[in-house]
């Protein structure tokens, strides 16, 4: 690009780009909405986000209130839709709503940071190649054999149990899988003829990276963000369950741990276990669905293979016979049945 661009045009360009991106996101959400499975995911995630943001207004009780002695161990009722805890009488629904905050925050933020780190590492390895590539791939191989959960436990022990450390550790050890996938995709893109054509036209590495390589991997990154967010939510819950999460926050994993420790199993307080489990389930389910639907949208081959069976089930026999009949030589000759242009079945 030439240096003569003044500030105004640069701003215009950036503005244009931002608008374009927003439009893309809008289009994309529309696509998700149109897909029956995507719609469920979108609804679930939207509800969770609303719960997380407006938790103090939505939650009927203060989840931190441990002084309700009279309300200990109540089964679900109109007052306490999901019952209360046996030990302290906290309202489980309120805890569940507050727990959304932790899960979403950890899950989504880790997912996004991971996508960035994985993309950077994968693209560097694939596009620059050579020494950078082998260095990154060696690191990936080492990380692959170190058992993740024990390592996370050790590191949270070393650095303290707050969510910054937890996110950091998840990111530091989660990028390898994505980096591998991105790398192999970048290798394919890098050797494609359209990149060669751009190189021939004098394109800089930057241009090729921004116009060809990055857009080519973007679908993978978006999809991965949704799927890893779901995975991280499970991992966070597991960590909290082991009592290794942030001890001051209410999280679903910690609720489960409290339930187990507080004797929910023993005293038959099933609601205390089921509630956080449902929370985890819906959160992970929503994000997974979005991720899977994205994969279907971006990878139409998979859709085609499953769609064709549905299509065949709903095939109109009469229509099929008409199509076959329309091909008959005799009828074409007399000209009363024309081979009508094919329409959707």
């Amino acid at each position: 690009m030439s240096e003569t661009l003044d500030k105004k045009t640069i701003f215009q360009r950036i503005g244009k780009n931002v608008l374009k991106r927003l439009k893309r996101i809008g289009e994309f959400l529309g696509k998700l909405w149109k897909h029956p499975k995507g719609r469920i995911g979108l609804i679930v995630v939207t509800i969770l986000v609303i719960l997380a943001v407006f938790a103090p207004w939505i939650a009927p009780y203060d989840p931190y209130d441990v002084t309700q002695r009279a309300a200990k161990g109540l089964p679900p009722s109109w007052q306490h839709p999901l019952g209360t805890t046996i030990t302290t009488g906290q309202d489980i629904l309120s805890m569940l709503i507050y727990g959304t905050r932790v899960s979403l925050l950890i899950g989504v933020s880790t997912g996004i940071i991971l996508a960035f780190l994985g993309a950077i590492m994968g693209i560097m390895a694939g596009y620059i190649g050579g020494f950078v590539d082998s260095a990154i791939m060696r690191v990936v191989d080492v990380m692959l054999v170190i058992p993740t959960l024990p390592l996370i436990i050790v590191l949270t022990g070393l650095f303290g149990r707050n969510y910054f450390v937890i996110v950091f550790v998840f990111v530091a050890f989660g990028w390898t899988g994505l980096a591998r996938v991105v790398r192999s995709l970048v290798l394919v893109l890098k050797n494609s003829n359209y990149v060669k054509a751009a190189e021939l036209a004098g394109a800089s590495r930057w241009h090729i990276m921004m116009r060809h390589i990055l857009p080519g991997t973007s679908h993978l990154l978006i999809m991965n963000t949704a799927l890893t967010s779901a995975g991280i939510m499970v991992a966070e819950a597991g960590l909290s369950f082991l009592g290794l999460g942030d001890p001051t926050a209410i999280s679903w994993g910690k609720m489960l741990a409290d339930a187990q420790g507080g004797g929910a199993l023993l005293f038959g307080a099933w609601w205390w276990i089921i509630a956080p489990g449902l929370g985890i389930f819906f959160a992970v389910f929503g994000f997974m669905r979005i991720g899977i639907v994205m994969e279907e949208i971006f990878n139409p081959r998979m859709k085609a293979s499953s769609g064709i069976y549905k299509l065949f089930k709903n095939l109109n026999n009469q229509y099929v016979e008409e199509v076959f009949a329309s091909m008959d030589e005799r009828k074409l000759l007399t000209g009363d049945v024309k081979p009508e242009p094919a329409e959707s079945g």
Binding site: D141, V154, A237
Partner: protein, 332 residues
């Protein structure tokens, strides 16, 4: 070509091993001058002089009194004699002895889980692929989304609640005497099986669905390959095509994941072992973590990493046997 490939893989595994053990050596030393402080954190009611003496003892006991470089060399020397160090527990048991005690119990869980999930998973995956688009397939697809969204530890809690406490079909907590009283009698084995049922089921559900889904996708991918069409054009019977052509090729990617999954199972069993109070490596690790027993924790970590490296190497070499196309470091 094959031979040099094997040599290359072994050399590479050794390299990874060295990186891992070096990391392992340095992790407890992160951000601290004196590892003795990490091994014996100051406790309440202890005067500075007392603490200083304890630290001095700790240093000498764990060899921190020499330079870091010398410590590293000593560490390597110990490792060469399969000595993973000494635990901080009373009586200073050797880490390797502690691991050796617990390992079989973890293997019981993870190997059983792996076998069950692989066997059932491949079976239902193949059926789903065969009945593509029908209810069997849809069922597997939905089961897989649901099971991923349900973490194993939640399943474990539910199982222990319902099958353990409510129906009392299986013990909800592992019988504490199971390990001590084990004597290879049929009765003892029955007790172990009975106690292992719930942990194995809760871990296997995810595995079955995972392997099922992978097998399904893999079988479908292979079914679409040209050589299956050739096999059909040869007039081969459907069973021959399935066993000799489809499954053999479809299993390749699953074999590759096998090595990783067994080491992953051992490491991932921590939560399940904790829920059922199963005295395996997972609980050992959590015990070590709660007492700050770093030598033990790092010993377990190193053991698990080495296990993973070897498992990886074995699957890679096994893969060469299965897939003749693999020659120089290229994998399909």
């Amino acid at each position: 070509m094959k031979k040099s490939f094997v040599i290359k893989r072994i050399l590479y595994a050794v390299f990874i091993f060295f990186v891992v053990l070096t990391l392992n050596f340095f992790i407890p030393r992160i951000g601290i001058d004196d590892p003795a402080e990490r091994y014996y954190p100051p406790q309440g009611g202890m005067s500075d002089i007392e603490y200083e003496i304890i630290k001095q003892i700790t240093r000498e006991q764990y060899g921190f009194h020499v330079s870091t470089w010398q410590q590293y060399l000593n560490y390597l020397e110990d490792l060469s004699q399969f000595n993973l160090g000494v635990s901080l527990r009373s009586g200073s048991p050797r880490v390797s002895a502690l691991i050796g005690e617990r390992l079989p119990w973890t293997l019981v869980l993870s190997v059983t889980t792996l076998i069950i999930s692989l066997f059932i998973g491949v079976l239902i995956g193949t059926v789903a692929a065969w009945k593509r688009g029908r209810w069997q397939d849809t069922l597997l697809l939905n089961a897989s989304t649901i099971s991923v969204a349900l973490p194993a530890f939640f399943i474990a809690l539910m199982l222990s609640f319902y099958l353990g406490f409510e129906l009392e079909l299986f013990p909800a907590y592992t019988n504490p005497n199971m390990v001590a009283q084990f004597d290879w009698s049929w009765e003892a084995i029955r007790v172990v099986a009975n106690n292992a049922a719930l942990p194995v089921i809760s871990m296997a559900i995810g595995g079955i669905v995972g392997y099922g889904q992978n097998t399904r996708n893999s079988v479908i991918a292979v079914t679409n390959e040209d050589f299956i069409l050739t096999a059909r054009a040869k007039g081969l019977k459907q069973n021959t095509i399935l066993y000799k052509h489809t499954l053999r090729n479809a299993m390749l990617p699953i074999v590759t994941s096998l090595g990783m999954s067994i080491s992953g199972l051992i490491g991932g069993a921590i939560i399940i072992e904790q829920i059922f109070n199963w005295s395996g490596m997972g609980t050992l690790f959590l015990e070590a973590n709660s007492t700050g027993d770093y030598p033990l924790m790092m010993g377990i970590m190193l053991f698990l990493s080495t296990f993973a490296i070897i498992a990886n190497l074995v699957t890679e070499l096994f893969y060469v046997v299965l897939d003749p196309r693999v020659t120089v470091g290229e994998k399909r």
